[in-house]
């Protein structure tokens, strides 16, 4: 299954939930926000949200800025 995460094409071996993906990316303890296909997915739905082939995922966080 192919998805795009932060602009990079990635192959996932199985249908993962967003919570699984965050775990795999070691981001599960982080304060992040996520869009799937331009729609924000609220934190409480990460476990229930299953990714589909072709999904475009944006994972953002806070960095230094003015």
């Amino acid at each position: 299954m192919q998805v795009t995460i932060n602009g990079e094409r990635q192959t996932l071996s199985e249908a993962l939930s967003l919570a699984d993906l965050l775990h795999q990316l070691r981001l599960n303890q982080r304060r992040v926000a996520i869009e799937v296909n331009r729609e924000i997915v609220p934190r409480e739905l990460y476990a229930a949200h299953t990714l589909a082939d072709g999904d475009e995922i944006e994972i953002v966080h806070f960095v230094g800025g003015g």
Binding site: A33, H61, G65, G66
Partner: protein, 257 residues
């Protein structure tokens, strides 16, 4: 707390808001923020580096329990991108504040005012506490206040330019008409610039490069803290009038014959 800076019902001791960009590392960021005394800090929203997610997170050093986090929409050139960024920032869970920036031009980084107004309308409706970055333009300030922005943030000079307040008279007009806090945002170069903003009567000053870009950012952060405090006190104290000729400070009576 005497003379607090009040933003959306919350009182702050400090009238200095600092950015967190351009520092060498998070240790320097934290030291500069602490030296500045700022209680509100701006941050940017960016993609996580998924190939190296182990990197330390900014909010690990700037705990949102101790600082008010003000996410910005820096780098956005359209109202849509700014709204999208603000929504993501809110989802990341640091509250409803947003420093709204919609940039109109890469070279000057001046704001696109119509796009800023369009984005502010959407965000205010969605319950955001919107602090828009604008030109030193009283009309733009008025319109954004009428929309329901929590403050207006006219620039002193272009972002990162360090030119100081280019048009103090426009800032004065904005101050005279505004019923929301006026925060000078961008263009401060050194301590005296911050003091001038506060002496004009601004409610707060927001800066990043002036501190982060100084040779000694920690010392400059401390200087800015003192300048903002001094400028505020001078404003409250009420300065003397400017006169063309001298007025003696010592009495005329009792001079030696």
């Amino acid at each position: 707390m005497t003379d607090p800076f009040v933003l959306e019902g919350k009182s702050y001791r400090s009238r200095l808001i600092v950015g967190t960009g351009k520092y060498r590392d998070f240790t320097e960021t934290k030291r500069a923020v602490d030296a500045s005394g700022a209680e509100i800090v701006t941050v940017a929203v960016r993609r996580v580096n998924i190939t190296d997610p182990s990197k330390e997170n900014l909010l690990d050093v700037l705990d949102p329990a101790h600082y008010t986090i003000l996410p910005n929409t820096a780098g956005c050139y359209t109202a849509e991108d700014a709204v999208r960024t603000a929504r993501l920032a809110r989802e990341a869970g640091v509250g409803k504040l947003v420093k709204l920036e919609v940039i109109g031009d890469q070279k000057t980084l001046f704001p696109d005012v119509p796009a800023t107004i369009a984005a502010a309308q959407v965000l205010v409706k969605e319950g955001f506490v919107v602090l828009p970055y604008i030109n030193d333009d009283p009309i733009a300030a008025k319109k954004l206040e009428e929309i329901g922005c929590a403050a207006v943030m006219p620039l002193a000079a272009p972002i990162g330019s360090g030119l100081g307040i280019r048009n103090p008279y426009n800032i004065r007009i904005i101050l005279e008409q505004s019923r929301v806090p006026v925060i000078v945002d961008a263009g401060v170069g050194t301590a005296s610039d911050a003091a001038v903003a506060m002496e004009l009567g601004c409610d707060a000053v927001l800066m990043n490069t002036a501190i982060a870009g100084a040779k000694d950012p920690i010392l400059m952060a401390e200087a800015m803290r003192q300048a903002v405090e001094a400028g505020r006190k001078a404003f409250l104290a009420g300065r003397i009038e400017r006169k063309l000729y001298a007025t003696a400070s010592s009495p005329i009576e009792g001079l030696l014959g």
